[in-house]
């Protein structure tokens, strides 16, 4: 069996036991459940600060009925950001590179927002298919375009996260392999490649956080339209 660069994305298994369970369940050890202490330690304070500020920021543009979603969105944000960041460590498996996981979250949540809109306020929900101020002759084609863009949303949501993380990891592996191979032949070029790898790693940290945020932000926007 020839190893290729895509093999890092295979769902890991050891002796036939799927390790995906470990990859998904162990990140939560980094978020200890807070007790009823009045004063927490630094880690708990930082996490509480992050979670509460994030919840506040996310729910600001949404009306009161949409505030029921806050726990779901915050939990999703924690889920994605910790999995993405932990996947940047060497030899770890990133579950969010799996299309199945991302589509598993994107499709049901998007569908929920659409159904909420269609069932509670169908006129407004359908009204979103026609932007305001459209010239009359363009109306039929624009409704078709907006419907297509509506249905492509879950696909885009899932594939965006998958593709960004997959591409980042692949690129890191490629450049690292190049630097490693070049060390014996052309050490200066290997040093330059290592510099590029360092910069790429910083970029990947940013991408990991941004992609998690964008996923949750877009879902909150879809909720805003429909709730």
């Amino acid at each position: 069996m020839i190893l290729n660069f895509f093999d890092q994305f295979l769902s890991p298994s050891l002796l036939g036991i799927p390790l995906f369970a470990l990859a998904i369940s162990l990140p939560w050890l980094l978020f200890p459940t807070p007790t009823h202490r009045w004063l927490n330690n630094r880690l708990m304070t930082l996490q509480a600060w992050f979670i509460n500020r994030f919840a506040f920021q996310l729910m600001q543009p949404i009306n009161l009925k949409g505030h029921k979603w806050i726990m779901l969105f915050t939990a999703l944000m924690l889920f994605l950001i910790s999995i993405n960041l932990l996947g940047l460590l060497p030899y770890t498996f990133t579950p969010t590179t799996q299309l199945s996981l991302n589509m598993a979250f994107a499709l049901p949540l998007w569908l929920t927002t659409v159904l909420i809109g269609m069932l509670n306020q169908p006129t407004i929900a359908l009204g979103h298919l026609l932007p305001e101020g459209t010239p009359t002759p363009l109306i039929p084609i624009l409704i078709i375009i907006e419907t297509i863009s509506l249905f492509i949303r879950p696909l885009a949501l899932g594939v965006r996260l998958t593709a960004n993380l997959t591409a980042g990891h692949l690129l890191m592996q490629l450049i690292a392999t190049a630097a490693f191979v070049l060390i014996t032949m052309m050490p200066t070029v290997a040093a330059l490649t290592s510099m590029i790898l360092f910069l790429l790693t910083i970029l990947e940290v940013a991408v990991a956080m941004i992609q998690a945020y964008v996923f949750v932000l877009l879902l909150s926007l879809y909720l805003q339209e429909n709730v």
Binding site: F6, D7, F9, L10, S11, P18, F20, A21, I24, S25, W28, F31, T33, P34, T35, Q47, A48, I51, N52, M71, T74, A75, L76, L78, F79, P95, T97, Q98, L99, S100, L101, A104, F105, T162, T166
Partner: protein, 55 residues
């Protein structure tokens, strides 16, 4: 591309949702601060205006 391999799709889906539904809500809810701390005095302190001491 191994991500398109249909074999572990359903298990991944199922397991990630199980994790998401069982473990995370309890953790996230515990971070919420439900009770406002009450101060000892009954009257609210007068808010002082900020007068930009460095300018």
């Amino acid at each position: 591309m191994p991500q398109l391999n249909p074999h572990p799709w359903f298990m991944i889906l199922l397991f990630s949702w199980v994790m998401f539904i069982t473990i995370l809500p309890k953790k996230v809810m515990k971070f919420s601060f439900n009770n406002e701390p009450t101060s000892k005095s009954a009257e609210k302190p007068k808010p002082e205006s900020w007068n930009w001491p460095w300018s």
